[in-house]
């Protein structure tokens, strides 16, 4: 029946030629085919150019000048002075050290805990949905609110943490005053906020691990820990790498938590002896307290270069590992 609907063309007789395509129309089609993908992505890239690349390059330009925030229309050429100044500034090195130690103190426990939590949530638990949503609650809390609460908890004289320590007969800690204590306190805020988020990413990756791998491992007599070690972790390694990179970037840019932890008086300086001044705070201190925008821009670029260096190192390690495994 269907066939009958198609009018048969008698053989031997030439098909009527299709009407010659109008040339402008053909050109439009071709143009459309080639250009429209670019148009589809254009909004993003235009926004990126305006709000990503341009500020980045302009910051680089500013970093070669001496600029006062209060008279920011006047720029004086300085060449690379702002960068060489950094190399000789103890406070820059102090900030870099603090960024690394706070970064390690927050990222390492955070990711380990996230991995463990994800593993637990991957079991068939009662109320699993609730737990999974609860994990995301800290992430959805604003930095300001979370930090203010933690600042109260870590208070020197009337904080709850010291009250608990006192009840346990352990001394009394000046959290904000000390070097390690303040860094631990700041790291705690970061860890609290981001553990759940990373756990959910791990959970998603774990759910994609083929079930038969576990069955095979179980048949071989692997216990749960061994399965976790030898099946789960290697399978989700790319995801772990991703979270390490993202957390590393976050740690390098750490700003809001230490700023609010110190409060108005010592937030920008990262404590009375700069004991928890991160690179982000150092930038802010130079740019918005001493009004040296050029120096602040140089710090921003130094941070970018540090991130790129870490990224390159990361890539190199992955390559080496892959070639060793593959070779």
């Amino acid at each position: 029946m269907l066939d009958e609907a198609v009018p048969a063309t008698p053989l031997g007789r030439p098909r009527p030629a299709p009407p010659p395509p109008r040339p402008w129309r053909a050109r439009l089609y071709r143009w459309d085919l080639k250009a429209s993908p670019y148009l589809y992505v254009a909004p993003f890239f235009l926004c990126f150019l305006a709000f990503g690349l341009f500020p980045l390059l302009y910051t680089g330009w500013v970093s070669l000048h001496s600029v006062d925030l209060q008279t920011s229309d006047q720029m004086q050429w300085r060449g690379f002075d702002n960068y060489t100044r950094l190399l000789h500034d103890d406070l820059f090195w102090n900030a870099l050290r603090n960024t690394v130690t706070v970064g390690l103190l927050s990222t390492v426990p955070q990711l380990l805990m996230a991995l463990g939590l994800a593993h637990l949530l991957n079991y068939r638990l009662r109320g699993r949905g609730f737990f999974r949503i609860a994990m995301l609650a800290p992430y959805a809390t604003s930095i300001a609110a979370a930090t203010l609460v933690f600042t109260l908890l870590f208070g020197r004289d009337y904080g709850m943490v010291n009250w608990l320590l006192g009840n346990l007969g352990l001394g009394h800690v000046d959290w904000e005053g000390g070097t390690w204590t303040s860094q631990i306190a700041v790291s705690t805020i970061v860890t609290w906020r981001w553990t759940g988020y990373n756990a959910l990413i791990y959970l998603a990756a774990m759910q994609a691990v083929p079930h038969d791998l576990y069955e095979a491992a179980a048949l071989d007599g692997a216990n749960r820990w061994q399965q976790f070690r030898h099946v789960t972790v290697p399978t989700i390694r790319p995801t772990i790498l991703f979270t390490v990179v993202v957390s590393g970037i976050g740690a390098t840019q750490l700003f809001g938590e230490p700023l609010l932890f110190g409060g108005g008086a010592t937030g920008h300086s990262g404590g009375s002896a700069h004991q928890y001044q991160t690179l982000g705070l150092y930038l802010y201190d130079q740019g918005w307290y001493a009004f040296h925008l050029g120096r602040a821009a140089a710090v921003a670029w130094a941070m970018l270069l540090i991130l790129l260096a870490i990224g390159a190192l990361n890539l190199a390690l992955v390559r080496i590992r892959r070639s060793r495994n593959g070779g």
Binding site: D32, L39, L46, L152, T232, G264, A265, S272, H292
Partner: protein
């Protein structure tokens, strides 16, 4: 044995949908959409709060910090009643150290500014020197009587060519707030005249009194709140502070800075300071928990003492004259040129700093007027603050205000003060740093920050 739970399927690869060639129209639409998106993200943030200026109804915004007391004294409401076309919105930041950098960012970008912006005395020299062209000359504004303000106050907000960019709000003549009950327990006099005699004329006697107090102090209490507060008080009561008097930062050779530093570090070593960071939460909590017996007390500090000590400590605080008269703090109102309603803002600033309004602010929150007529008014002279019982707060502060010697406030005073108190001195309190080393670090940091 149970294996980790769900494993949904394998790695299903969804077939890619076959792409149909869209109509040319569509790509044109895409281009338009893209343009819209870009326009959308570029125009974000340029809108400002104030409604478009229709003739009848305008909104004036006032940016300030801490407690200016206008709202508490009902002044905004009164002004809006008198001027039905004007709505006033106050944007308050708790701490000045957060407020000023934000103000600078707004000034640099020319957007986000309020119609009236407050500026603190430690910053006014910097604004006058570098940014005077961004503010309206209020000396010539309607309703402003420049001669009515304390001469040194209006001097601080005036440029060398005679333009006045800030109208004085309050000044901070300083006294000492002390706890009568704690003094009594430590065997010290409690009457404000006798207490003032303990340290009259010399801050060193204040520290000596502290040692006496500490020897018999009630458990868990300290003589004073912080080394930084003491340092500030000593410097504030000197005629030469961080500036050498001719616009040059010279804190390293300033005798008052040296004296203040020695007294403050001596106070830490003698253990008479509670080691707190002023204007920080633990400091506020310490008021309620009676952790210290004295605090250097500019007039505006009375509001903090009353508010943070709480009703349980009402009547326990009194105010004695400080070893030397000094001014700590006080502010100005400015009108940025970038504002949309300059004329209306000028009028409001003039009205808020006029004698009647300044007197009202003082009787409500304790900010002492900078306007001499207001200082002389009976409601100021005879003022009592409810929290301080029968203490003649008006008389004490107005008398101190008259004996303040004018000082030159330099461009960098705010930064130097902050680095020395919240940096060096606090680090000595928190880390037991060696004072010489802490001073050296602070000097290095200040020199770096004030250089180009």
């Amino acid at each position: 044995m149970r294996n980790p739970g769900t494993t949904h399927g394998g790695r299903a690869t969804a077939p890619l949908p076959v792409r149909k060639v869209p109509k040319p129209l569509l790509s044109a639409a895409t281009a338009a959409l893209g343009a819209l998106l870009v326009a959308g993200c570029s125009s974000a943030g340029s809108g400002s709060g104030g409604a478009a200026a229709s003739d009848s109804k305008i909104t004036l915004t006032v940016g300030d910090y801490g407690t200016f007391g206008y709202k508490q004294a009902g002044l905004f409401d009164a002004y809006m009643r008198e001027h039905p076309g004007i709505t006033i919105v106050e944007h308050t930041v708790e701490q000045e150290t957060d407020y000023y950098p934000a103000l600078q960012t707004h000034l640099a970008s020319g957007s986000g500014l309020d119609d009236i912006q407050a500026v603190e005395v430690g910053r006014i020299a910097q604004v006058v020197k570098k940014q005077a062209n961004k503010f309206v000359d209020l000396g010539k504004a309607d309703g402003v009587d420049k001669g009515a303000f304390l001469p040194w106050k209006s001097q601080q907000a005036s440029t060398t060519d005679g333009r006045t960019i800030g109208l004085g709000t309050d000044i901070g003549p300083m006294a000492i707030c002390y706890r009568k009950d704690l003094f009594q327990q430590a065997g010290l006099p409690t009457d404000r005249e006798e207490v003032a005699k303990l340290w009259q004329g010399d801050w060193a006697k204040f520290v000596e009194t502290g040692k006496q107090y500490q020897a018999k102090a009630p458990a868990g209490t300290f003589f004073t709140d912080s080394a930084g507060g003491l340092f500030n008080a000593v410097v504030s009561s000197s005629t030469t502070q961080y500036d050498n008097g001719s616009g040059q930062l010279d804190y390293k050779n300033s005798p008052s800075v040296k004296n203040a530093w020695n007294l403050a570090t001596g106070a830490v070593q003698a253990g008479i300071s509670a080691g707190l960071k002023q204007f920080d939460t633990p400091w506020y909590q310490a008021f309620a928990n009676s952790k210290f017996a004295t605090v250097a007390c500019p007039s505006w500090m009375t509001a903090i003492v009353a508010d943070k000590s709480g009703s349980a400590n009402k009547g326990k605080w009194d105010i004695a004259t400080a070893p030397a008269a000094g001014n700590w703090g006080g502010s100005f109102l400015t009108v940025p040129k970038a504002g949309k309603h300059q004329k209306e803002a000028e009028a409001l600033a003039a009205w808020l700093t006029a004698p009647a309004q300044q007197a009202k602010v003082f009787t409500t929150v304790g900010n002492l007027p900078s306007n001499t007529q207001a200082l002389g008014r009976p409601e100021v002279q005879n003022a009592h603050l409810d929290f301080f019982g029968d203490t003649p707060t008006g008389r004490i502060y107005a008398a101190t205000a008259q004996s303040i010697q004018p000082t030159v406030i330099g461009e960098w005073d705010g930064l130097v003060k902050d680095t020395l108190t919240n940096g060096a001195l606090l680090s000595i309190e928190q880390h037991q740093s060696d004072p010489a080393k802490a001073w050296g670090n602070a000097v290095k940091e200040i020199d770096d920050k004030v250089s180009d």
